[in-house]
Amino acid sequence: MKNTALTDTHIALGAKMVPFAGYNMPVQYEGVNIEHEAVRTDCGVFDVSHMGEFLIEGEHALDLIQSVTSNDASKLTIGKAQYSCLPNDEGGIIDDLIVYRVKENTYLLVVNASNIEKDWNWISSKNTFGATMRDLSEEYSLLAIQGPNAVEKMQALSSHDLSEIKFYNFIVGDFAGIENVIISATGYTGSGGFEIYCKNNEVKQIWDKVTEAGAKPIGLAARDTLRLEMGYCLYGNDIDDTTSPFEAGLGWITKFTKKFTNSENLEEQKKKVLKRKLIAFELDEKGIPRTGYDIVDGQGKLIGKVTSGTMSPSLKKGIGLGYVSPVFSDFGSKINIQIRKNAVPATVVKLPFYKG
């Protein structure tokens, strides 16, 4: 199992460690509810250095990225980032990712830890454009500093005006005494803040200064409840090699302004009725939906599966995502979640669950 550059720091803080995507990662420090609350109301810091980073450079770097991703990366100016996905040839999704345009012909792709090798092999196999590819995953660390007070609490650590960095924009600058780190106004919590990309040997200093400045360490358990309250997809749960971007509600990052993997079939699919749709639901009664539970109609007939579920720490009720046939996908539709022996009533709702 791999460690991040901060594994010893997490253990010294008393974190409960779990294997995740091949890494020994902190799942919680004090408790998931306290950590969740800290990010929603104040400021927290996550070590998410397990994430993968690929640098793609060269005259035709953009051509390669355009050919493998679903969103239109030609819209990116330097200093902007974009959420996207890597479609496969069979209608599914290889991974979701963020594409950063760092320089004129230099892009950074940030991918899920569990998919680093799969993504690398896939993109490499499509690199007929002569782009230079470097896998920086083992050399780079990533901290997510998230919460409504992140800007204010971290401002003293940088000479740049952090409040000037707009959502899905980034700068390369100084932070916590380290030069040339990426400060990106992105995240996976819905509570604002930054993500900091730096070298492994720089991350301890940044972590120490960030926690001294008032960010509470947050584990992966709260990362999951925070993202689920926003309805952000988790690869491996809500999207995978078999789910289409349209079924997953990712039509907004699927742009037919260019050709990409399987784009012709996806364009056809867009015109037709989908076989299934990812929906968000809240339980009307007590209970907690979990990944893999059946979704049933009023007669107990199977209509879908839960892909993510939890007790929402903010809403104090069971929330989840799942795929159902489109007839059950309208907001307000009544469905049931089969929790052990009981079919618990639930209502299809609009995202996000947590509205701030």
């Binding site: 409960k16 799942v27 919680q28 408790g31 998931v32 509810n33 358990a221 999951d224 409840t225 007590k286 209970g287 907690i288 979990r290 939890t310 007790m311 720490p313 052990r340 022996k341 009981n342």
Partner: protein, 126 residues
């Protein structure tokens, strides 16, 4: 780790307080700390008579679900329904306000199979 010497235990990390032919059952301090923040305790077997090792309920933490196993055969005669609104009592006071059920034991001799505090400590390496 708090493991009171006057209680009995199971390998499934439950504690048992014996009062004649009635027992009170909850989960141990070790169990609650492993589960993390507990958000739901479901017991739908009130008034049922179950065998030892049968599932009498479920405890849900934010990230995990665990079945609750009846330590010995008997009838579930009470459920701590205050846990419906305050499941966090299982975290804060596992041996007190976090108790889960009371059971009328079918055969008092079956209680001899329960673990002592020392035996349980050995199991969890405390």
């Amino acid at each position: 780790m708090n493991i009171p010497a006057d209680l009995k235990y199971t390998k499934d990390h439950e504690w048992v307080k014996i009062e004649g032919d009635q027992i009170t059952v909850g989960i141990t301090d070790f169990a609650q700390s492993e589960l993390g923040d507990i958000v739901y305790v479901e017991v739908e077997t009130l008034d049922e008579t179950l065998d030892a090792e049968e599932v009498f309920g479920t405890v849900e933490a934010v990230k995990t679900v665990s079945d609750l196993f009846l330590p010995v055969a008997g009838e579930i005669v009470a459920f701590n329904d205050s846990l419906e609104d305050e499941p966090e009592k299982v975290n804060t006071d596992p041996y007190g306000e976090g108790w889960m059920i009371k059971v009328k034991v079918s055969d008092v001799a079956s209680l001899d199979s329960l673990l002592s505090a020392e035996d349980y400590k050995a199991i969890i390496g405390a």
